[in-house]
C-alpha cells in the first residue's frame, strides 16, 4: 500500500517537473517562462517530498521533508517576484502578443497629466 501511494505521487511529481522544464524551453517570453517554472516546480517538488515522507515513514524524515516543503513554498514566490521586477526594469522585451502592461499604462497617464503629481 505504501509503495503504491509513493509510486503514484513520485510519478506525478516527476511529470510536473518535466512539464516545468518543457514550459521553460517552449514559452516565448521571460515572464511566461518564469510562470511555468515557479508554479510547476513547486507542485512537482511538493509531490516528490510527500512520496519520500510516506516511503521513509518515520518522524525525522517527515520533519525534514516538511521543512524543505515549507521553505520552497515560502521562497519560490519571492524569487519569482525579484526576477520579474529586475528583468522588467532592465528593459527585457515583452512577448509581442502581450495584451496588458499595467506599468506602461501608468507611465503614459502620468505623462499625459504632468500636474497631477
Amino acid at each position: 500500500m505504501t509503495d503504491v501511494v509513493t509510486a503514484v505521487v513520485w510519478l506525478a511529481g516527476s511529470g510536473f517537473a518535466l512539464l516545468a522544464a518543457v514550459g521553460v524551453l517552449r514559452m516565448p517570453d521571460v515572464f511566461t517562462r518564469m510562470q511555468a517554472s515557479t508554479k510547476a516546480s513547486t507542485l512537482g517538488l511538493g509531490c516528490l517530498l510527500i512520496g519520500t515522507a510516506i516511503q521513509l515513514g518515520d518522524f525525522p524524515a517527515f520533519i525534514r521533508a516538511a521543512s524543505i516543503g515549507a521553505f520552497v513554498l515560502l521562497t519560490t514566490p519571492v524569487s519569482g517576484l525579484v526576477i520579474a521586477r529586475a528583468s522588467y526594469f532592465a528593459g527585457v522585451a515583452l512577448w509581442k502578443g502581450t495584451v496588458l502592461d499595467e506599468r506602461q499604462a501608468v507611465v503614459e497617464s502620468d505623462r499625459a497629466t504632468p500636474d497631477a503629481g
Binding site: 518535466l18 524551453l25 521553505f71
Partner: protein, 88 residues
C-alpha cells in the same frame, strides 16, 4: 515495484534537467538564464529527495535543504545584480 518506479522517476527528472540545460545555454538574455538556473536547482533538490526515499538514507535530505537555500540566495543575488545595471 519501487526500484522500477524510482528509476522511471529519476530518468524523467534527468530529462527535465537536460531540457532546462538547453534553455540555460540558448537563453537570449540574462533573465532567461536566471530562470533556467532556478529551475535546475529545484530539479536537483527533487532528484536528491527521490534518491533519499529510494535508498533510505536520511542524511541526504540535509543536502537537499542546503541546495534549496543556496539556490534561493543565488537567484536573489543574480536579480539584485541585474537590477543594479548588469550588461545583458
Amino acid at each position: 515495484m519501487l526500484p522500477l518506479v524510482s528509476q522511471i522517476t529519476l530518468t524523467t527528472l534527468g530529462v527535465a534537467l537536460l531540457i532546462a540545460l538547453i534553455r540555460l545555454i540558448k537563453g537570449p538574455t540574462l533573465p532567461d538564464r536566471i530562470v533556467a538556473m532556478d529551475l535546475l536547482g529545484m530539479l536537483v533538490v527533487g532528484l536528491i529527495v527521490v534518491l533519499a526515499g529510494w535508498s533510505g538514507v536520511r542524511a541526504t535530505l540535509d543536502a537537499a535543504i542546503v541546495i534549496a537555500l543556496v539556490g534561493f540566495l543565488g537567484t536573489v543575488a543574480y536579480a539584485t545584480y541585474l537590477e543594479r545595471g548588469a550588461p545583458r
